[in-house]
């Protein structure tokens, strides 16, 4: 077997989790960290080797396609003779691509965390690793295992299983600083919101399996036969859409996005790994994995995804423009970028040709975005380590003190804004291109959003690295910022290099919907109108941000905020979506159901039984005097009874 080692890709991180989880507290902290990191290093090498093997050594099969390799697939549960729950390991172009994304980012995060998860003195010298360091690495290992299991799933139920596991890892890691109320609250919110979405995912899977008779991605069944089942024409698209709702929960689509900004309470490396690069794109991956079925059975329903995602992209970009917490700003940017990917998937209309470009574009963007967004988050982590706060008010003018971080953050910003020749330009313009093919309106809309992207990202960059310096306002009493140690900037530089060059990967040669080679025109300098247009819009966004935020003491942003107080306040409060959900859970679910039901149970139902007990007792009390032991009374009863009986007998 060519990939026989691949079971280790799941087993090693699981073992590392068990070892760190059970024995971690007995180990020295760096030892625990090294175990986790070493395992990830091995995984990274294995993934690269797998990718090399899959794409180059083995290459395309006789039909000109990359084969789907199922390395192993065993029955985990058996529902009926035909319907089984399998767990396996499947290699397809996209799962191999995801293997690389996950292990690369995870490996960098493992290294980076040695620097981040440490307590430092005034001169930023490391004193001691943080408490719970072992636990942190244990969770990271578990997460990596679950995420890898998710992407190599051979069927939708296996995906669901690991989907739940990544959810719980996210829960545990967001709540890593568990003494903090905000962290606990955020972790709870993240889990419950995604669980709510997963409910739809589960129901979708159940409908799907009922109509199709399998959990597999690839239907061998004839579409016309499947559609003949009563109700299938209605239920199959519905089941796919229900599954997408699950994906929308994980990928933070409007209005289920509310958990992601709060999830930033977790340690920053976690935000980079889980809430930027890997777990949150699970929804994209899910839709992509099911894409042939979508196109075959529910082509029209598919476009709803595009509309929802396009709105989300706009909404999140608008909110990102006025966040003062840098991590939340990045979180909204993540939501917006994932929405780009889903929009691209939603505009797929055919299995090949022009209509299928969105698929490749989406996954290309997933790949590049994972790199530069992880980079941006890790940069912001470096800043937070130095500044000790997430808020932009404490930053400003950092370019002098943190030159490496400055350059890396700038690279990330340029990449995400979509300027040639960095990674974001190619992937995002492919998406916009695909949108134009679907509908020019959508194309213009997404172009507008990419202008907003450039604006809010450069705004973030300027308020952190330029503008008024918080330190310089009062240098005697404030800590002087400094550059982070190598263990932290090393991963930054590595990811920056990828962010610069990733755009030149001929992605269409590896991943495309029909499996045949697709060329990305931009990589051959064939710029169409759309490319020029989005470059122009991005430049406008960049120029506006530069004008507003680069100079020191520019009163314009504040003026704008006071000119439109309502809009500004609404954007600051994320357009009150969180409040709407809060109302729904507290007032409707708790207020209208839980509390009345609990009351009803204690007072009505239980009251009924208590009443019957009481009535029995009272009844007993009432008839007790009859058994008085008083002979005269008995005589009276006896006499009355005899007379009555005699009379009755006589009457008859």
């Amino acid at each position: 077997m060519e990939y026989s080692y691949s079971f280790l890709i799941l087993l090693l991180p699981f073992l590392s989790f068990l070892v760190l989880g059970l024995l971690g507290m007995k180990m020295k902290k760096p030892v625990a960290g090294l175990i986790g990191t070493a395992v990830l290093g091995v995984l990274w090498c294995m993934s690269l080797y797998t990718a090399y093997n899959y794409f180059f050594a083995e290459g395309r099969g006789a039909d000109g396609l990359f084969p789907t390799v199922t390395v192993f697939n065993f029955t985990w549960m058996k529902f009926t003779e035909l319907l089984t729950f399998n767990i396996g390991f499947r290699l397809t172009p996209i799962s191999v691509m995801m293997l690389i994304v996950i292990t690369t980012v995870s490996f960098m995060v493992h290294i980076y965390s040695f620097g981040y998860m440490a307590e430092r003195d005034e001169n930023y010298k490391k004193e001691e690793y943080e408490p719970g360091f072992q636990r942190f690495y244990a969770y990271l290992s578990l997460f990596t295992m679950s995420m890898l299991g998710l992407v190599v799933a051979t069927n939708i139920f296996q995906m669901y299983l690991f989907w739940e596991l990544v959810g719980v890892c996210s829960y545990l890691l967001i709540g890593f600083y568990y003494p903090k109320h905000a962290a606990v609250h955020a972790s709870k919110k993240a889990f419950i919101v995604t669980r709510f979405a997963d409910l739809f995912f589960l129901i979708g899977i159940l409908f799907y399996s009922y109509y199709v008779g399998t959990f597999n991605y690839d239907l061998t069944a004839d579409p016309s036969l499947v559609m003949k089942l009563p109700g299938a024409a209605y239920f199959l698209p519905m089941s796919l859409f229900l599954m997408f709702i699950g994906g929308a929960g994980k990928s933070a689509m409007f209005p289920l996005h509310i958990w992601l900004p709060d999830a930033m309470e977790g340690p920053t490396p976690v935000s980079a790994l889980i809430h930027a690069a890997t777990m949150v794109v699970a929804g994209v991956y899910q839709v992509a994995a099911l894409m042939p079925i979508w196109v075959a059975y529910a082509p029209n329903t598919l476009h709803y995804i595009a509309y929802i995602a396009a709105f989300t992209a706009f909404y999140a970009a608008a909110v990102a423009c006025c966040q003062s917490d840098i991590k939340r700003g990045l979180a909204f940017s993540t939501i917006s970028q994932i929405a780009y990917m889903l929009t691209a998937l939603g505009v797929v209309t055919a299995m090949e040709g022009e209509g299928s470009v969105g698929y490749m574009a989406s996954l290309f963007h997933l790949f590049t975005h994972a790199m530069f967004k992880a980079l941006l988050f890790l940069c912001s982590g470096a800043i937070i380590v130095i500044i000790g706060s997430n808020f932009k008010e404490y930053m400003g003018g950092l370019h002098k003190y943190m030159p490496i971080t400055n350059i890396c953050f700038l690279i990330g910003t340029i990449a995400i804004s979509g300027f040639w020749p960095l990674a974001g330009f190619f992937s995002k313009d492919e998406i916009v291109d695909a949108c134009f093919h679907f509908s020019p309106y959508l194309g213009y809309f997404m172009t507008l959003v990419s202008g907003m992207t450039a604006f809010y990202m450069f705004r973030l960059y300027y308020v952190i690295f330029w503008g008024d310096s918080y330190y310089e306002q009062d240098p005697d009493h404030r800590r002087k910022p400094a550059e982070v140690p190598f263990i932290m900037w090393g991963p930054l530089v590595f990811l920056s290099v990828i962010s610069i060059f990733a755009g030149w990967i001929p992605f269409g040669h590896f991943v495309s919907l029909d499996g045949h080679v697709e060329e990305i025109a931009l990589q051959h300098f064939h710029f169409g109108t759309t490319a020029w247009m989005s470059l122009a819009v991005a430049t406008i966004g960049f120029a506006l941000a530069t004008y507003m935020y680069a100079p020191k003491h520019n009163p314009l942003p504040n003026k704008l905020a006071t000119a439109m107080p309502k809009l500004h306040k609404a954007a600051l409060n994320r357009f009150y979506i969180d409040d709407a959900w809060q109302f729904f859970t507290h007032k409707i679910v708790f207020g209208c159901f839980s509390i009345p039901i609990a009351w009803f149970d204690r007072h009505v139902i239980d009251g009924m039984f208590n009443f019957s007990a009481w009535a029995t007792q009272e009844g007993g009390q009432a008839i007790r005097p009859w058994q008085s032991g008083d002979v005269r009374q008995y005589a009276v009863w006896f006499l009355t009874g005899s007379v009555a009986l005699t009379l009755i007998l006589l009457c008859i």
């Binding site: 549960m77 058996k78 319907l83 568990y178 606990v184 669980r195 839980s594």
Partner: protein
């Protein structure tokens, strides 16, 4: 007489030994030896059963290791034993709970000897119930299991213990009053219509003589009679009070095993012996159980006592057992048995941890607890794991059971069943809400009270109990196929019989 009788003999010998024991360490010694022997016996039974099934398929031999000794000839009451896949896993579950329960009550005071006497007597009833296949013997062991509960809660309980004990016993006794009517009905009408008076479950099923209209009279008696024990809405109210007052190991045994008698009886007696009635009346119970599932979960959301939360959660999860049973598909019923197994283990774990926390902190009020992860990490981790298992996280047993139930329930394709299934599915979200609310409040955040800093973590005996249960929950969750195969083997012929789709099971 086969080795199955040992399941009753060992606890009886333990009773004698306990009676003779002179001090606490002897009492504990007897309990450890006895419960270990029972656990070993249960494991041996599983292996022997799997082995024997290879030569004796379930279609011809529904019950293995059978014995039949006449006990009261005029009424054809026999001491009849035998096990199929369902009883095998239930016996294994009981042994695990008795074993861990022993360790969980290591420091039970006062009157440890008397406590363990009643505890062991309770287990006699439980084991006897699961090994018998004679209606009357089953009923007798059922009664044996009920009585000790009254004393265990009434004497060693906490809070309004006399009230709770009385309520629990009276309600369950009410259930057995319904049961005896149902059992006699089955006995006499089966005899009348088939000409062969028998108490044997297998023979009655084989004869299949009771006409549908009579079945419909007795089905509700038996289903509700056992349903009360299985926390069927609206007969579940003994559960919150009873659990809240019971001492730790009694809660474990009660929720872990005794409530399973309910689900087991509903399936084995009510549905298996009265199949036509089950088909025709299932819709009533489907409504009730769907309510149970959601109602229990919603009630749990606003409780403030840890044990109440868990008791309502049990209402929801046991509701799921009965819900799956009345779906009457093979997958769902396998799921129901798995859910019994899984719920038994999870809830025992939960009650064990709650008891230990209560023992230390002196309160079970969610509002007064907090930050336990700092002061007693082992117990807090145990609580978190129990919580995650309870909300159906993959890798733990809850997920396995729930997925079987949902997939099985979806096989029934009509709008009514679909709607009920989808409503029941929502419980997975509500469960997450109440579990995470409590976990976030009591395990995480700041330590709520200065005095908590002095509290100690679990002792070795508590670690054995909690660790053992976690191991079982994870074991079933990671490798469910073996349990599923054992259970399915028994469920398949029973479902064929109930739905009338296959050959009637023969002796």
């Amino acid at each position: 007489m086969t080795f199955l009788t040992l399941f009753v003999v060992i606890p009886v010998v333990m009773l004698l030994a306990l009676w003779l024991a002179r001090n606490d360490s002897q009492v504990r010694g007897v309990m450890v030896v006895g419960s270990t022997a029972l656990l070993a016996l249960a494991i041996y039974l599983v292996l022997a059963f799997v082995n024997a099934r290879e030569t004796m398929p379930a279609e011809q031999y529904p019950f293995l290791f059978g014995t039949a000794i006449p006990w009261f000839e005029p009424l054809n009451i026999y001491y009849r034993t035998g096990v199929d896949g369902i009883s095998v896993v239930m016996l294994l579950l009981s042994s695990i709970i008795v074993f861990t329960g022993t360790f969980a009550s290591w420091q039970q005071h006062p009157m440890q000897k008397e406590y363990f006497l009643w505890f062991t007597l309770l287990s006699v009833g439980v084991y006897g119930f699961f090994i018998s296949v004679d209606l009357f013997t089953m009923f007798m062991f059922y009664e044996v299991a009920l009585i000790p509960m009254y004393l265990l809660i009434g004497v060693w309980g906490t809070g309004p213990k006399e009230y709770s004990a009385m309520k629990l016993t009276l309600m369950l006794m009410g259930g057995s009053a319904l049961l005896i009517i149902g059992i006699l009905g089955i006995y006499f009408f089966n005899g009348q219509f088939s000409g062969q008076y028998t108490m044997s479950v297998v023979e009655i099923a084989q004869l299949h003589a009771i006409p549908a209209f009579i079945q419909k009279i007795f089905f509700p008696f038996i289903f509700i009679g056992f349903g009360i024990l299985g926390a069927l809405f609206p007969f579940h109210t003994w559960s919150p009070d009873g659990h809240a007052s019971a001492p730790t190991a009694v809660s474990m045994l009660h929720a872990g095993v005794l409530m399973k008698l309910g689900g087991y009886g509903c399936f084995r007696v009510a549905m298996y012996l009265l199949p036509e009635a089950a088909q025709q009346l299932s819709w009533v119970f489907l409504i009730l159980t769907t309510i149970s599932v959601v109602y229990g979960a919603l009630s749990a959301c606003v409780q403030t006592d840890l044990k109440y939360i868990n008791a309502y959660s049990s209402v929801s999860h046991c509701g799921m057992v009965l819900f799956a049973l009345v779906m009457m598909t093979q997958t769902a019923c396998t799921g129901a048995i798995l859910q019994m197994l899984s719920h038994g283990l999870m809830t025992a774990l939960f009650f064990a941890v709650i008891g230990m926390i209560y023992h230390r902190a002196g309160t079970r009020d969610v509002r007064k607890l907090g930050g336990l992860m700092k002061v007693m990490p082992f117990l807090a981790v145990g609580y978190v794991i129990a919580g995650l298992a309870n909300l159906g996280l993959p890798g733990f047993s809850g997920f396995v059971a729930e997925m079987n139930i949902f997939v099985g329930a979806f096989e029934v394709n009509d709008t009514f069943h679909r709607a009920c299934t989808i409503i029941a599915c929502t419980s997975i979200v509500i469960t997450a809400v109440y579990i995470l609310r409590v976990v976030g409040k009591i395990c995480y955040q700041k330590v709520a009270d200065e005095s908590f800093f002095k509290l100690t973590d679990a002792t070795w005996d508590e670690r054995v109990a909690v660790g053992g249960l976690i191991l079982c929950v994870a074991g079933l969750g990671l490798a469910p196929l073996w349990a599923q195969n054992i259970i399915n083997d028994a469920v398949a012929p029973m479902i064929h019989h109930i739905m009338g789709t296959g050959a009637v099971a023969g002796m």
